[in-house]
Amino acid sequence: MKSFFISAALLAALQFATADWPQFRGPLGNGIASAADVPAKLDTNSIAWAADLPGRGLSSPIIIGDRVFVTCSSGPKQDRLHVICFNAKDGTKRWERRFWATGRTMSHDKTSVAAPTPASDGERIFAIFSSNDLVCLDLEGNLIWIRGLTRDYPNASNSLGMSSSLTVTDGVLIAMVENDSESFTAGFDAKTGVNRWKLDRPKMANWTSPMLLKVAGRPTYVLLQSGKGLAAVEPATGKIVWDYGDGASTIPSATVSEGILYVPSHGITALEPSPEGNSPKQLWRSSQLRPATASPVVLNKRVFTLNDAGVLSCGDAASGERLWQLRLKGPFSATPLGAGSLLYCVNEKGLLQVVDTAAPDGAVISEMDLGKTILSTPSISHGAIYVRSDGKLWKLGKS
């Protein structure tokens, strides 16, 4: 059974060049990098380059081939929206496209209008903003389509800001526009931006992101998390296949690893989807593993959660038993990334801490201070880490 899941992971990774990072938390949406050459030790000599960014942004960079794409929002009301393409090699700008927000831009001071992470299908870049402006460009910066989702659905907004990132599969772009009022998730035709489907969703604010559940030999589903729980839908039609309704968090997103779903629900609840597509089976639940803002990460059969204060908890992925806790220097908003046995955790003050999860009780083996507020989850590609603050994008490689 497990070999099916492993094969699925490989299949998913091969859809892109293996070093691409095409969406929030990477090609598999689980924050794990396949590259084995991500540096373990980081210091100021690790900065390959740093590029200036305009305005503000919490979105993660995405990397396709030799290009890094970032979104930003600027202006006194953050109503100027930017999609910028940099050369991965040296950080020079290839192109920048700007748009005016057609939706509302009010958001909490801690977040920004450029909070959701863009996504790519390898040919196109899709970017969404808290104003619910959704744009599609090709890799050269040619505009393919635009949607103004608050313009189309006037009460689709959240005065605190929206941050659900995008995902794309088989020609369908999925965007969660879930909020207290006009709440929905939609599948858009990747080529034209026209609705393929639109699903009413629970009327509650929701900052989680959609994930793909890909298992070899089974249909791909999109997982939509909300305060009500987790639903699996067909990406082509929006049809709900199954629905776990025991509640879930509205901030950290679930993680999929080897076909098992680790859902921020009552701590962490591990679910196993059934081959027949019925409701998933609960494998275990642990209230001792409790993610705050950062999403959980599963690495080498261990599940890791990070609370805002900086306590990293390690649990056994098979049983949920908490194995150890390690106090890092917090606070944290960014989700950790995993590579090999290492977790890369960047705190809100810009201190990047590398944790060796193979050490007994975990151990911080390297720290690097970027000196800026960092709330964005980093990305990894070709052994380099890309991390952004409001005003800077860094590439970190080997010292």
């Binding site: 700007r98 748009f99 505009l143 393919i144 949607r147 207290d180």
Partner: protein
């Protein structure tokens, strides 16, 4: 031949630079035709490639195509302008600065198009842009006015730093007269207060402060937001109704303070799961389009002259000045404004507020006061 070329060049300098070339004219029309829910996107993508491949001389025409275009089309065109400018500048070619300046100075054009033209001048000839913006302090496009106001603020700050308070105050006051962005207004007011010449913020913002309010009506489970209570059917200021906790009647409420807050907790009681209404009359000396600018962290609905403008059922996610900008039409004479505002069941300290603020402005943000007719 040289003579003909010279004449042709002269025509091009003074001729209709904003007229699109035949090659892109149809493409611009296609882009302008994009609509709701992705209508026209596929055609616009093809048209965009043609427009984006145009040379720098086409920029004024592409900017002019934003006039009267919807928001989506304006963004399509903006991206084309960015692509052209980026390519031309990277190739060492010049932008048509004279044409762009002419475009900026023509207030008939779309404010954002004018702003974009100005930004292109900034990128190519910053000194010229600086001279240009100095003259735009009272421009009808707030996108341009803001930068001009910022120059005044910076000048006033320099005077203040140099200890020239007597010169700084009038400079700040001049800036305040022109400022329309809330952050600039508040920033200037803060400086004037420090310098001993505080601004009258309620007047500067133009809040509607004289209201009649009634409530509480029941809104258990949030149902009150959609439930039609009598004030929505007809405003009868002499009427009495069954409220949530007894009879309710209209009563006077004057919003005081710098931010014009109409706080229903005061007349109605700090209750939960309730709805209330606020009513006011506004005299206009002419029929005109306006914006009703509302700030509110509760669920709300707004009617102008009995016509429902908009409503929202979000609670306690934050409030800011001009949070919602509702387009409306004033008629000459008396206009009526009705606001419904609901409080939900939340118990946290930050959910106590049951209030709103409202002002009427033009599109630039200039407050309009009720006329004395």
């Amino acid at each position: 031949m040289k003579h003909i070329l010279l004449l042709l060049s002269a025509w091009l300098c003074v001729g209709p630079a904003e007229a699109a070339s035949p090659q892109i004219s149809q493409s611009l029309k296609t882009i302008r035709a994009v609509g709701a829910e992705g209508q026209g996107n596929a055609e616009a993508a093809r048209a965009w490639k043609e427009v984006g491949a145009a040379d720098a001389a086409s920029l004024p025409a592409i900017l002019a195509a934003m006039d009267g275009a919807n928001d989506l089309a304006v963004n399509w065109l903006r991206a084309a302008v960015d692509a052209i400018a980026e390519r031309e500048l990277a190739a060492g070619r010049k932008l048509p600065i004279a044409g762009l300046e002419k475009f900026v100075r023509d207030t008939k054009h779309h404010p954002r198009a004018r702003r974009l033209a100005y930004e292109l001048i900034v990128s190519a000839e910053p000194a010229k842009a600086e001279r240009l913006i100095a003259s735009l302090r009272d421009d009808p496009a707030n996108e341009l006015r803001r930068d001009a106001v910022q120059r005044l603020i910076d000048e006033a700050a320099s005077l203040r730093t140099a200890g020239k308070t007597n010169d700084a105050v009038p400079k700040y006051q001049t800036a305040l007269k022109s400022a329309r962005d809330v952050d600039q207004v508040e920033g200037i007011a803060k400086e004037l207060k420090k310098l001993g010449s505080p601004a009258e913020l309620p007047t500067v913002f133009g809040w509607l402060t004289d209201w009649k309010v009634i409530g509480p009506f029941d809104s258990t489970g949030g149902a009150g937001h959609d439930k039609v209570y009598p004030p929505e059917e007809r405003v009868d200021l002499a009427a009495e109704y069954d409220g949530k906790v007894g009879k309710v009647r209209w009563q006077d409420f004057k919003a005081t303070g710098d931010y014009g807050l109409v706080d229903l907790n005061k007349p109605c009681g700090a209750l939960k799961e309730v709805a209330g209404y606020a009513y006011t009359e506004f005299q206009s000396d002419k029929a005109r389009p306006v914006e009703l600018r509302l700030g509110c962290k509760n669920a709300w609905k707004v009617w102008l002259n009995g016509k429902f403008l908009f409503g929202r059922d979000e609670y306690h996610r934050g409030m800011e000045i001009d949070q919602y900008r509702l387009a409306g039409e004033l008629k000459k004479g008396k206009n009526t404004i009705l606001v419904k505002i609901c409080q939900n069941e939340m118990k946290e300290k930050w959910t106590v507020e049951w209030e709103f603020q409202l002002r009427i402005t033009d599109a630039v943000g200039t407050p309009i006061a009720s006329a004395k007719l």
